[in-house]
């Protein structure tokens, strides 16, 4: 029993170390891609970012709407329903925007990255590149990684913006909260620091979600079953990692 735990632990440390090395190799290859083959990155920003826009906006709208409803029903007990804008803005910008976007990103873009790379491996496309003296890390992995890193903060910003719109729609148009108070209180209490926290989080989540998706695809067992497992693992591991890291960042930003 103890032995099994020890083996699992050693295994985990090994994988984690290998993941970090992999991350460093991605970073090392990043500058040359930026200079020489930026078109590849743009294509991946489109794949990971633009194609995720619809799902991000729909989810953002409804999450914002729920915040408007919940905020209103709770705050009105203290006669503070004017603060519903502040409540929604804090929730969205600092927490829900980055976190939910990262989870949706893992589900929409992360899975497609992992399965695409896994299938390329299973059909010998990556070996074929190596045989043509082309480093697949550079040609395939780095552009996809960068596409994710660039897309995530933008998607999180869109999510928060649409969410605020949803909250405003519910609170002001539906429940009759004063529009002036909604915006005024938000502007008065929200600090640049709070916005920065959200941006920082979404950037970190973007790196984490992208590196995990690319890693899982690249290390997938090259069979139909292996690629399927890699896709599932991408979502599960990204979700766990994002929530743990979210806790750590929130704690470190606490005043």
């Amino acid at each position: 029993m103890l032995r099994e735990i020890w083996v699992t632990f050693v295994d985990f440390v090994r994988t984690f170390g290998a993941l970090q090395l992999f991350f460093l190799r991605l970073l090392a290859a990043t500058p040359s891609i930026f200079v020489r083959r930026f078109g590849l990155v743009v294509k991946q920003v489109y794949n990971a970012g633009a194609l995720s826009l619809v799902i991000i906006m729909v989810c953002g709208l409804f999450v914002g709407g729920v915040l408007g409803l919940q905020g209103y029903s709770n705050l009105s007990k203290f006669n503070a329903e004017d603060s519903v804008g502040t409540f929604a803005a804090f929730s969205l910008l600092k927490e829900l925007g980055p976190v939910i976007t990262a989870l949706l990103f893992a589900g929409r873009a992360g899975t497609s990255l992992a399965s695409e790379i896994g299938l390329m491996k299973a059909t010998d496309q990556l070996s074929a590149m190596e045989m043509m003296a082309i480093n697949p890390l550079r040609r395939v992995l780095v552009p996809r990684f960068l596409g994710g890193v660039i897309s995530m903060p933008l998607l999180a910003a869109v999510f928060s913006m649409v969410g605020l719109f949803g909250a405003h729609m519910v609170a002001v148009s539906l429940l009759g909260v004063d529009a002036g108070a909604f915006w005024q209180q938000m502007a008065a209490t929200l600090d640049v620091r709070d916005v920065n926290e959200g941006i920082f989080k979404s950037f970190v989540f973007g790196v984490v979600a992208s590196v995990l998706a690319v890693w899982e695809g690249y290390n997938a067992i090259p069979t139909a079953e292996g690629v399927g497992r890699a896709t599932t693992r991408t979502v599960v591991i990204t979700a766990i990692a994002v929530l743990i890291i979210d806790f750590m960042i929130t704690a470190s930003f606490l005043r």
Binding site: M120, T123, D124, A133
Partner: protein
């Protein structure tokens, strides 16, 4: 001992094991410049593994592989990539890049390795596609191609950098007779017209006999026989005869090792 002018690839005393399974033991093969060399053997003898060893996608446990007189285990990653540009490889299923069309697949190595102007790339790619008879399919995507067409596109891509050595991994598997004939003739034509050397891994005895100058038959991790196709089919060795003539009985057993048949049917093997 460096006779690089004659033998392009020289494999010496090669050992390779995967897990507990010894795949090669004391393997010696030399591949002559300008010829079509076939490597044959029953399924599971590690023929594809051998190709991956020659191109150093895998590293042997012991022994050395010389390409053009250079021991490839001594190369750095950059030198290895430089060496690989002298190879063209045709994978079993083609391994075309699924997100690019036929033209871009063939153009891919040129775009990655050279700074040639678009007009010239277009010229080269169309020439290569014409050579495999698929100039008209330039705008198709890999998903639209049949197995034989995909392999011909992959052949065009393997040739596009004008390699010295073309490697074919099971080029005849799963093709209809017409595509098969086309590929067989292409292999020979490419080899002679472009003055390259070809390595062919296959277990299709008939096709190999028509195209190869020299064949190696691998069994149990060693070279069981070598020589021209005629020499091989007229050999006295039981194993070679069994393989060349496709007989079920011989040194290579049809049955995988199993307990006694009657005992097992009667359910006595568990007692």
């Amino acid at each position: 001992m460096n006779d690089g002018s004659e033998n392009l690839i020289e494999i010496r005393d090669l050992d390779y094991a995967r897990g507990h399974r010894q795949i090669f033991k004391d393997l010696n093969i030399s591949i002559t410049r300008g010829q079509v060399t076939a490597i044959m053997g029953p399924s599971g003898t590690g023929k594809t593994t051998l190709l991956r060893l020659i191109t150093r996608q895998l590293v042997p446990d012991r022994g050395s592989i010389f390409v053009g007189g250079v021991d490839i285990s001594t190369l750095s990653l950059n030198e290895l990539y430089k060496l690989r540009r002298r190879f063209g490889m045709l994978f079993q299923a083609g391994a075309l890049l699924t997100d690019l069309n036929v033209f871009e697949n063939v153009a891919f190595p040129l775009r990655e390795h050279t700074k040639l102007p678009n007009r010239l790339i277009r010229h080269i790619v169309l020439t290569k596609l014409h050579a495999v008879g698929l100039r008209g399919a330039a705008d198709m995507v890999p998903a639209q191609l049949s197995g034989g067409m995909a392999r011909r596109v992959a052949l065009a891509r393997a040739m596009v950098m004008d390699p010295e050595i073309l490697i074919y991994d099971e080029p005849f598997v799963g093709l209809d007779p017409i595509s098969m004939g086309v590929i067989v003739r292409l292999v020979r034509k490419m080899n002679d017209a472009l003055g390259i050397s070809s390595i062919l891994v296959s277990h299709d005895v008939q096709e190999v006999s028509t195209v190869a100058d020299c064949s190696y038959l691998i069994s149990d991790g060693k070279v069981a026989a070598s020589g021209s196709p005629d020499e091989l089919s007229n050999t006295s060795s039981e194993l070679v005869r069994q393989f060349m003539h496709g007989m079920a009985d011989g040194p290579v057993a049809f049955h995988f090792a199993a307990p006694n048949y009657a005992e097992q049917l009667l359910g006595r093997d568990n007692e």
